[in-house]
Symmetry: D2
Subunit: 206 residues, 4 copies
């Protein structure tokens, strides 16, 4: 074991980078997102790859809060309708299969909320609202010269050879998970959810 | 919208709490975990609920690095054998279905690594090695009096009425994701993985 | 290509074998199963391996009919409660993880219906009702001497070296799928479900 | 309970209908499909809704035979490459998300095999080979006047108001499962797979 950083050091770097991304979320974005959630009949979540796993983690918590939520592609997910909200997690905003799902959501009269790392993209163009978790903002602070940080942020993928479909950096997903959990805390507060109610919904069979 | 904290503030709290958990990981735990990964023929991952999603996120990255990894319960997961490693994510270390899977892994001659928030549990007892991401350590710093922090850490669940099966706090899962990503960066360094190789394994069909 | 049978011939053999299994279902079993479905608040489905896929196919159709159904282990599956029904698909009735889930269902006050190929098993013992799709009945007709039929029915696994966890024969799963579809047709008839209603629930987003 | 048919009768009807579909598979289709499987480096499977579950059941069996198979969308599915085969299950051959996946498979140099109920469709146009399980052939035999049979075959959806995205009839999926199992038996024969080898691959951890 002769790497530059210990696992603990890398964990602190990632946490710190994720925290700094909070600064890139505007109050307006936060409010719009909360309003969309509170106003939706049902909430559908989607995402590809690791972003899809974060989408599921968010959808599961919504269910714990007693909200009706569904994961696109799971077995018992019913047809989406007018009044329903789709929350799409896509760092690039360009993932082909997710773009298609977003188009469908709009076509059936649903509302589309995007959680992304780029303010401009195919999905951002059709989204009703977007929350931008901008890991590139972080790069601007001059920390991107370091290998580990570049891996974390995926910043070496930016520029001419930027491939939005395949960032190595996992920072968007971590930031998206932290954003989701912050939203859940906010929802619990706004809905005056008692923890006992939440616990009643925890899966007792798995 | 009249909550105590903005989403941005909650995100910073969660990130900071997750970062402080890095301090609870010992060098020995980190080394043992890396050695187990590097020495395994194949790596299986498992976890229930949201921990299971983190397990999948980790397994996906291992595949990206060119390692042979499988998620317990997915379609094409083959029988586990001697020489294989099971990485179980369980905050409580007591989840019944995961305990059963861990016992099976040991029975077929596999190695069992546990990522958990408690040093003592049913799974910890039979694990070959464990990484403890102790969110209760964080509580000791006196921050647990605040509602939001208590929700984040799930610390209000500790004590007499502690129910290891249902912590509200999502902090373990966030810390486990950050730990997993730190491990991936360490693996890339140790294996001299070029980012091009990683990209070649990214799913191009989803 | 010099095999004993063409794919078409094998398809006819499998279909014929599956059809003959219908004879092993008693009227009482059929009625009990329909009554349990019609009386349940919510229907949970489970199964391991390929039986789990048949369970999902059944759960999806129940959703199409407008019934509230959940797959054990999927993201938004809430806690099971008294009045809920668990339909477990297990050929052997002994699969360890499914047995555990069945015990939990009983413990929380749920009703347990088993779809299986053996009338006696660990799960059968605790089930409130069972539907036996007995592929071994078919073997008794003297057709089991043939390689293909033996593979289809898995009958070579019976007897002393019978391993309930690993039958090669896929016949149980095929019969279970056909049984499930028959149940769905019966439900549509009993509930006077118009096909338009069913179509409204088809996923429009996947 | 005052329905026209018992569950047993419905099971026999479905089995019989599925068996008759075997007649619509040509020898050439069967041979091409087997050759594609035997010549592939890796086999990817995909399908939407219930067809996706049949695709998984097929992919699982391929793994049991020791072949390298992957389910599109699962966690550890690597990038598809030249020499790989995609087997798509789509009754209509028009499902949007599956069409996209098929186009990607062709674009990266993969071979595309389609299992479908219609000889002409968007996917059929780009597929290298197709196996047509034509449930409408069955309708021509004059049996479609009956309610149950119409539900089974979905034939009432044909004609002017035919909606390829939402057939109620589950017959295609049942026939596709039986076709898949026939293919597996054929593969075992051609590859001289001993049942012991198959059993060694059965999941022992789930």
């Amino acid at each position: 074991m002769a790497t530059c950083y210990s696992i603990q050091e890398l964990m602190r770097m990632i946490s710190s980078a994720a925290g700094s991304i909070a600064d890139t979320v505007s109050d307006r974005e936060g409010h719009q997102f909360m309003d969309a959630l509170l106003g939706a009949s049902r909430v559908y979540v989607t995402g590809a790859g690791r972003s899809g796993l974060i989408a599921k983690a968010f959808g599961m918590r919504l269910m714990h809060l007693g909200m009706e939520s569904y994961v696109v592609g799971e077995t018992i997910t019913p047809a989406m309708q007018k009044g329903d909200l789709l929350v799409a997690f896509s760092g690039s905003g360009e993932t082909h299969s997710i773009t298609d799902i977003c188009k469908t959501a709009k076509m059936v009269g649903g509302t589309l909320a995007l959680v992304t790392s780029r303010s401009e993209s195919s999905i951002a163009t059709i989204a009703d609202l977007a929350v931008v978790l901008d890991s590139r903002q972080y790069d601007d602070e001059g920390l991107s010269s370091d290998f580990a940080i570049r891996q974390i942020t995926g910043s070496h993928r930016s520029g001419a050879d930027y491939n939005p479909k395949a960032p190595i950096g996992s920072l968007f997903e971590t930031a998206a998970m932290i954003f989701s959990d912050a939203v859940i805390l906010e929802l619990m507060d706004l809905r005056h959810t008692a923890k006992d109610e939440v616990e009643d919904n925890y899966s007792n069979i798995q």
